[in-house]
Amino acid sequence: MRTKRLIAALAFAGASMLASAAYADNYEIDGQHAWVTFTIKHGIYGIAHGQFDAVKGAIVMDKADVTRSSVKAELDVGSIHTAFDQRDSDLKGPDFFNAAEFPTISFESTKVEKVDDKTGKVTGNLTISGVSKEITLDVKLLNEAPAPWDATLTKAAFSATGKVSTADFPMAKAADGFGLGPEVDIAIDLEAIKK
């Protein structure tokens, strides 16, 4: 009897472990609650701010083994927004993000590392104007919970920061000419809907 119970307990534990290892949640980035912002040195003066309003993508989060998680995201270059129309036009132009030729910026993770229960590092390829560069984002899981107004809707919220350089992309010459950057700080806050 004791042996049977032990075997059953072990089998249950093993099955639970296997289940959790294979269990990964899928999320879709909630474009209405996504803020992809950046700051860059503006000439000899201050810091310029901007953001991309149209963001979409998917997140796979494996809580049991975070390294098996992944992120894929896409920004619409045409949605760039810096609180000044003329600057937005300049940034969409061929000197910078070149929206007519490359309408989207994409990020696809290649590696996810766990730092602690709530934080991790997501490394991936950021592609701007057809040029891909590896970057690493420091990511924090802020919360995951059912919506108070709809128990069937579960959302997770993430915060991420990282750095890129204008020198790595085809905007280097123009950015240098106008004294922008080269370092760009990225700050991302987004919510994702569990599928």
Partner: protein
């Protein structure tokens, strides 16, 4: 010195203007007309301004702006072809083929995207008009005893196209191509200035070789095509008007010849003004309908 050279206005306007003057003086007093060294000088200067404004060549080129310097190199290679190839019908066909290829290479992403919006229609019109104009201009044979305005027709077309293209480009949110076109305009303008002063003094004008004419027209045309394809706020009408100077130059030896006065010193001036009319209209159009007012430069 480095601060002066780092100034965008110096690099875009003053330096190429001075270098254009120096080239014209060299052509007049030092380098014989038949010497291939002339095109070598022009090629080196054109490449210098491409490099300075767009940065060093990237391999493989991905964005259209990275392809421009390779197109300039292709223009230089064609410019080195023997004069007999760069004359008459062969030159016209070669010019048309080179510009059609350049348009397809620069614009293939936009063409593949299949969106026929107003910007794309304007880009197609610009490419077609500049192709027809440049091909016809290159196909025109040199006269055995050229009229006073004849050596000025191709450079005036390249100058007008570059100058209006530069302003349309900057006002259309493509500043780097505007700088490049500005440099090409100033370089050609420096040459024209010396040659015209020579005409005024009754001297013999040093004619540009067909290779240099091709290089200047091809460089200006390809950069204008890139502006038409990619500058998000470039005025479509201004772009189309900017592409017309080569056609106006063709007509100066045909239907518009009647506009030219008999006085020899005035003929290049009047021809230049007539060739510049579409460019002037392009500049006025771009300024009047500038999307953010006629403010130049990054905001």
């Amino acid at each position: 010195m480095s601060a002066i050279l780092g100034n965008a206005m110096v690099i875009t306007a003053a330096l190429p203007l001075v270098l254009g003057i120096v080239l014209a003086l060299l052509s007049r007093f030092v380098v014989p007309a038949s010497s291939p060294v002339r095109i070598l000088f022009w090629a080196a200067l054109v490449l210098f301004f491409y490099w300075d404004t767009l940065g060093p060549p990237v391999m493989p080129p991905v964005a259209a702006s990275q392809k421009l310097i390779y197109l300039a190199i292709a223009g230089i290679v064609i410019g080195f072809l023997p004069e007999r190839i760069l004359a008459g019908r062969t030159a016209g066909v070669l010019t048309a083929a080179a510009l059609a290829t350049a348009f397809l290479w620069l614009g293939w992403r936009r063409i593949a995207a299949g969106s026929l919006d107003l910007q794309m229609i304007a880009a197609l019109a610009v490419a077609l008009l500049v192709l027809i104009g440049a091909a016809m201009l290159m196909a025109q044979p040199s006269s055995p005893s050229p009229a006073a305005e004849e050596p000025f027709l191709a450079p005036a077309a390249a100058l007008s196209l570059s100058l209006s293209g530069a302003i349309v480009s900057v006002l259309g949110a493509s500043i780097v191509t505007g700088q490049l076109l500005g440099s090409l305009a100033a370089l050609t303008g420096g040459w024209c200035l010396v040659q015209y002063l020579t005409t005024l003094r009754g001297g013999a004008v040093s004619t540009l070789s067909k290779g240099v004419e091709f290089l200047l027209l091809f460089a200006a045309a390809t950069v204008l095509i890139q502006v038409a394809l990619l500058a998000p706020k470039a005025n479509p009408l201004a772009l189309v008007l900017s592409s017309l100077p080569p056609l106006a130059a063709v007509l100066m030896r045909g239907r518009l010849q009647g506009l030219l006065p008999g006085a020899r010193p005035l003929r290049p001036l009047v021809a230049g003004v007539v060739i510049a009319v579409p460019a002037i209209l392009a500049i006025v159009t771009a300024i009047v309908w500038a999307p953010h007012g006629a403010a130049l430069g990054f905001s």
